[in-house]
Symmetry: C2
């Protein structure tokens, strides 16, 4: 059966980074929907079988990028949420640098390099928006370094939950104080550099102080302010600079 590929989350997200006109949106949408693909839960994305890889976008579902050490230790270095681009910067890097995997069933697009470059050439507005999203990705990666390097377990988890909630919110995927949250505690451990056991206990702490409620696959944040201050969270890193005078 033919799946409906819905590019809306990507368009919504990218619109945050530039004033995309109708024609920009249409061009991008049709390209994304042309190259839609599917993956199940806990599958690899971008393994060799795929042949020469292109630019990927997550249309729905959650994925992550991770790196591993020889002995099996694993670090999730980024989450890829609906609407987000996977790796504008990634072509040109040794593909063994890191790997991608899904956390849920995922619909994504993989646009061939050539087609995508043509698009960027024809629609410079899209190029500029994408450039900004890349800048934000870089900024997020720096924040993660700070997070695992300096924050204590309690702050660290709080920070991660804050970030995800806000990013989902940007994609229009929160409803009020709640959002879907399909990750396991094991994923949280790999992303924070903590042990599963300690993640479990720390989550209980956060729950007992009513900073979050997390059951089933649903996260609620009754008071975002309080969670942010528990996380020493500074929103600056998630948002582009205020109106940029330069062209």
């Amino acid at each position: 059966m033919k799946v409906k590929f819905d590019a809306a989350p990507v368009l919504r997200k990218l619109s945050r980074y530039g004033d995309l006109r109708e024609e920009d949106l249409r061009a991008l949408r049709s390209l994304l929907e042309e190259f839609g693909r599917l993956r199940g839960t806990r599958e690899q994305i971008g393994a060799c079988e795929d042949g020469p890889c292109g630019i990927r976008f997550v249309l729905s579902g959650w994925a992550c990028r991770y790196k591993s050490l020889e002995d099996g230790r694993r670090q999730i270095v980024a989450f890829l949420l609906p609407g987000e681009v996977c790796d504008v910067c990634h072509s040109g890097i040794s593909p063994t640098d890191s790997a991608m995997a899904t956390l849920t069933p995922v619909v994504f697009s993989e646009v061939p390099q050539g087609r995508f470059e043509a698009l960027l050439h024809d629609f410079p507005t899209i190029a500029r928006a994408l450039w900004r999203e890349t800048a934000i990705d870089m900024s997020i990666q720096r924040e993660w370094t700070l997070n695992v390097g300096q924050r204590h377990a309690y702050e660290r988890l709080a920070h991660l939950l804050c970030e995800i909630f806000l990013r989902l919110n940007q994609a229009g995927l929160t409803s009020g104080i709640t959002c879907e949250f399909p990750m396991t505690q094991c994923d949280l451990a790999d992303a924070t550099g903590l042990s599963v056991v300690h993640v479990n206990r720390t989550l209980q702490e956060l729950r007992s102080e009513n900073l979050i409620s997390l059951q089933g696959k649903t996260l609620s944040v009754p008071n975002l302010q309080r969670l942010q201050s528990a996380a020493l969270f500074d929103t600056a890193y998630l948002y582009p600079a205020a109106a940029d005078a330069r062209a």
Copy 2:
């Protein structure tokens, strides 16, 4: 007195990422030398006084990018070594996201946004090379997340020293098994997320096993292979993908 701004390290480094012709090099060099600047040890780079900021390159000396928490905890998220670009991706991000400071006296160039964009437009080869360097920077940032998230103190420090040695080597700044190493143990602590005391002890361990020798401002790595394996170091993340067939 007029300082000699030598753009050679930048040109050498960038040449690793693309086949720059004589004319590319000349154009870039003259731009870099036009906008040279100076800083002393432990000074800020890119504070407000500088006005609207441009694209920065380190010509000589060491600097770092860091982030801090409200209570003073500090994480160095990147080192900026001679020849490296500071932040292609950075315009468009809230400037409070992170800060830059020098570790030694530094000579750098700060090319105004407009002038630089013109250069990239006229010399697409430079643009492509710079794009790849940015991709590597991103890759390095991911590796740092892995480093502080998963590696033990011993591996972590070994890894950092390895990386710096290899990056200096790329810039032509090593001679044999030694290189300059102006960082304090305090800087190492901030970069690894360890305490100064523990850095000190771990360095002693590394020394006692002859993996490094570090005295004065000089680092020697008698056996890079051994240091790499102690660090669980995989060089893939530092290098661009093998010859890229696509245009």
